[in-house]
């Protein structure tokens, strides 16, 4: 329809009646918006419209011209060349025209015409130096002469400023424009201030220096009673922040945070956090500001921000003591803020000993007397609070575990706290409580190794991962406090038996899980209730935990968790595995590796039965209570694979229950454990438990098999543990 009617409308553009002409002009705008191709037809008629005397036709003609220029570049060129001077002259005439009662509004003749002309000049002058030059005089005149006590005048000034900022650079005019905006900012009328803030946000891209001068006024606007103005002002302040003014600005914003309204607090907090994160000159200032924000508005702080804070804290080892003491004080002052509680709980768990001993005092601090039980009180309060969410409670549980290791005197009390959650309806808490309880009860020896200080978390990795991570679930927020793994660094072959057996558990370059995976741990007891994650990475972790909580058993078959390609484990899925509801990833991992690294390799009497055809069976391990025999066979067709039949005999007078056999092999081997025939081993050595192991040797022919083993069982209700290393595999396996 537009195409059909276009010629008619075009004709009407030159009709004698001005009313028809102006309506035709506006109609043409619709047509060219609908059908941009027809724009060329309208260029010439429009040019003649621009010379009209009748204001109505003139205004509509100008509007048509503006839209034409926006839609069609040729039109823009045409009008720029031909009409710029004409338009400038028209504007001059209007500005200087005498009083005309018909068009007069608030003492200005036809402000609408002013505004439309200015807008068209803006479109024409943008990007073109010559056109911009033509306009400079008239723009200056409008900017200086227009009265701004009425809205009409202000509207014209606003449009003028917009035009000045958009056309080609002219220093004097720009200064003029920014001054006008400054005047607007101090105007009492809300509308004017709103408009000024709007303009300044655009102007800051062009000329940041000039806008900085008005910083104080803008700060005042942040505290305005009008919500829209506050929002605009806050965005503007955010754009204004740079390294030099970040400290005073942040101080102002945080002071205002105290008195601001609830619905504004969310925005304000988010902005303050990002300012602090981007521009903080030093760590101690960052931590201070974040603590203040958390105390004021912790409930509005997002999880990622807390995690970032924790990363920064861990990266500032000299500030650990200061941080944990400050957090303790803050917690005493205001413990309703969720995020504050979370960060405080984490820090107290990690650095509790620094808190007690007042280590690392900085000069500005007052000494703080905190006893161990007070520190435990803090964490207990966090746990008991109604409003603590799952993340906080989980972190509190693990903090308690850490504290029980750092403060042995409170161990019993901590255990009682943890036990209370054994029956919790939430799976996460129940699982943690049960596992930690069993660590506290049965595995005191490895406890301190388990909860060693977390090493420095790599900030760069963290921010890179944060940018690319998809899942932002609370579980993933747990990743960070519990220790993220680093990017792939040279894999340390922990079980490289030719080298020294002491891997650094907290190797700052080590990739924890990668190292873990280098150790093919294959416990025969499967994961317990933590079977939820199906990814193998998750299984890796779960099985790790089942090492620590041998009491939690199920009858599920032993699964081969590490039958992944050793070094092909992508970090992301690893982390997702970490994110599965299991705690104690890396810190557990490393110390366990430590454990295995520190395994005493008891001397194994190699007994060569010499009965099997190619490969004699050996006594893999023998102690006063237990003997393990290995017999070998090779499946046909695959020289790298070996099937080992392990036979366990009880050499003591007591029965063994909960019998678990675990084996670890170096990276070039792959191990697969079949389920054992039974979990209990009667005394006397007559009846045996059998278990099949399948080993694949990727270095078949070059390296022979080695294995470290660990056997755990209950004798007379006592937990027993035996460990050993098997070196004497027959060659050729």
């Amino acid at each position: 329809m537009a195409r059909d009617l276009a010629p008619e409308v075009e004709r009407l553009l030159q009709f004698r009646d001005p009313n028809i002409r102006k309506k035709a002009a506006l109609c043409s705008i619709r047509i060219i918006k609908k059908v941009p191709d027809l724009a060329e037809n309208f260029i010439n008629p429009t040019a003649s419209l621009l010379k009209e005397k009748h204001h109505g036709v003139l205004i509509t003609g100008i509007q048509l011209c503006t839209d034409l220029c926006k839609i069609s570049p040729e039109a823009l060129e045409h009008f720029r060349k031909k009409c710029t001077e004409g338009l400038v002259k028209t504007l001059k005439d209007v500005v200087n025209s005498p009083y005309a009662p018909e068009y007069d509004i608030a003492g200005i003749t036809d402000p609408f015409l002013h505004i439309r002309l200015l807008r068209l000049l803006r479109v024409l002058g943008q990007g073109d130096a010559y056109a911009s030059d033509c306009m400079n005089d008239i723009l200056a005149q409008v900017a200086t002469k227009t009265e701004s006590n009425k809205n009409a005048g202000n509207a014209i000034l606003y449009e003028c400023v917009e035009t000045i900022m958009s056309i080609e650079d002219n220093g004097g005019l720009r200064v003029l424009a920014i001054n006008i905006l400054g005047r607007f900012l101090s105007n009492r009328d809300n509308n004017i201030r709103y408009v000024a803030l709007n303009m300044l946000t655009k102007a800051i891209i062009v000329d940041a220096q000039a806008v900085q001068r008005h910083r104080t006024t803008i700060l005042e606007c942040v505290k305005d009673s009008d919500a829209s103005i506050r929002k605009r002002a806050l965005e503007l302040v955010y754009l204004l922040v740079n390294e030099t003014n970040v400290k005073p600005l942040t101080k102002e914003l945080i002071d205002y945070l105290e008195v601001s309204e609830q619905d504004f607090k969310g925005d304000l907090t988010a902005k303050i956090c990002s300012i602090v994160e981007k521009f903080s000159p030093d760590k101690i200032w960052y931590i201070d500001q974040m603590l203040k924000v958390l105390s004021q508005a912790g409930n509005f702080v997002k999880g990622e921000v807390c995690n970032a804070l924790i990363v920064v804290i861990s990266n500032a080892p000299d500030l650990h003591g200061y941080t944990v003491r400050a957090l303790y004080r803050a917690f005493q002052a205001s413990s309703e803020q969720e995020s504050l509680v979370r960060v405080a709980v984490w820090c107290i768990g990690e650095y509790g000993d620094l808190l007690i001993n007042n280590t690392g005092m900085l000069n500005i601090e007052d000494p703080l007397m905190v006893t161990e039980s007070e520190a435990v009180d803090v964490v207990e309060t966090a746990m008991k609070r109604h409003s603590s969410d799952l993340t906080t409670k989980s972190m509190a549980l693990i903090a308690l575990l850490k504290l029980s290791s750092r403060f042995p005197s409170c161990s019993e009390r901590i255990r009682e706290i943890i036990i209370q959650h054994k029956g919790n309806f939430v799976l996460e808490l129940q699982q943690r409580s049960i596992e930690f309880n069993s660590i506290l009860e049965k595995h005191k020896d490895i406890r301190s190794a388990l909860v060693e200080r977390i090493p420095v978390l790599d900030e760069a990795t963290f921010s890179g991962r944060k940018a690319s991570s998809v899942s932002a679930s609370p579980a993933s927020s747990l990743k960070v406090p519990n220790g993220t793994a680093k990017p792939a660094s040279p894999l340390v072959d922990l079980l490289d038996l030719s080298s020294d057996d002491t891997p650094a558990p907290s190797s700052s370059t080590g990739d924890f899980l990668q190292d873990l995976l280098g150790v093919d741990l294959a416990p025969s007891s499967g994961p317990s209730s933590t079977n939820q994650a199906t990814k193998t990475g998750a299984d890796a972790l779960l099985d790790l935990l089942s090492i620590g909580s041998a009491s939690v058993q199920s009858s599920s078959p032993g699964i081969d968790i590490f039958s992944l390609g050793q070094d092909k484990f992508p970090p992301v899925t690893t982390f997702d595995g970490l994110a599965s509801p299991s705690s104690l990833p890396a810190p557990v991992a490393a110390p366990i590796l430590d454990l295995l690294g520190g395994l005493i390799s008891s001397p194994l009497p190699p007994e060569n039965n010499g009965t099997s055809p190619a490969y004699p069976s050996i006594v893999a391990f023998e102690s006063s209570n237990l003997r393990i025999n290995f017999s070998f066979s090779k499946p046909p067709g695959n020289p790298q694979a070996t099937e080992i039949q392990a036979t366990f005999s009880n050499l003591s007078q007591n029965d063994y229950a909960d019998f678990i056999f675990q084996a670890a092999v170096p990276k070039f081997l792959q191990l697969h454990l079949e389920p054992a025939s039974s979990n209990s081993l009667p005394a006397g050595g007559k009846e045996t438990v059998k278990q099949t192991l399948r080993v694949t040797n990727s270095q078949h022919g070059k390296k022979s098999l080695v294995m470290r083993i660990r056997i755990a069982y209950k004798m007379n209700g006592k937990d027993m543990l035996e460990e050993g290393q098997i070196n004497r595999f027959p060659h050729g396996l």
Binding site: F112, N191, Y194
Partner: protein
């Protein structure tokens, strides 16, 4: 460009709507509901501009009526305030001290005046005098047509007696 014009009373009753962009019937009701909720709850001292759905809505309160116009992001809000005032003054000139009652009972005239002022979302005529003259011209046409209709009905009535 102006996307639509909305006149709402303080109690939330819609007195006039004019749409310059395509909105389906359902969308219209939704928009009206949203905007009335947004604007009627705003305090007195706040500024007259609201951000809404990526557009700006400029509103002004005259007695018990809210005049709202929805514009694009890059339009001049202060100018639109002037346009609203221009409309109100034209109405005032036509009705003589216009009040909400006039608009309720003569809403068709209000629409005619708006149509002379705004077309396709743009300002058409900055002069109140010309608008008044045009509306007066329309009114006289209406009168003339009424006259004619009367006279024809007279003739028919007489003819069928």
């Amino acid at each position: 460009m102006i996307h639509f014009v909305l006149l709402v009373s303080r109690q939330g009753k819609v007195r006039l709507t004019k749409w310059y962009s395509p909105y389906s019937q359902k969308e219209r009701t939704k928009v009206i509901r949203e905007l009335t909720g947004l604007i009627l709850t705003r305090g007195l001292k706040l500024c007259n501009f609201v951000e809404w759905r990526g557009y700006k809505v400029v509103y002004k309160r005259y007695a018990s009526l809210y005049f709202c116009m929805c514009i694009d992001q890059d339009d001049n809000e202060l100018e639109v305030l002037e346009i609203i005032h221009h409309y109100v003054e034209t109405l005032d000139r036509y009705f003589g001290s216009v009040c909400e009652l006039d608009l309720i009972f003569n809403f068709h005239k209000a629409y005619y005046i708006l149509d002379e002022l705004l077309l396709a979302g743009e300002l058409q005529e900055p002069s109140k005098k010309i608008v008044a003259r045009l509306i007066a011209g329309q009114d006289s046409l209406v009168e003339a047509a009424k006259e004619e209709a009367n006279s024809i009905s007279n003739i028919i009535a007489q003819a069928t007696k």
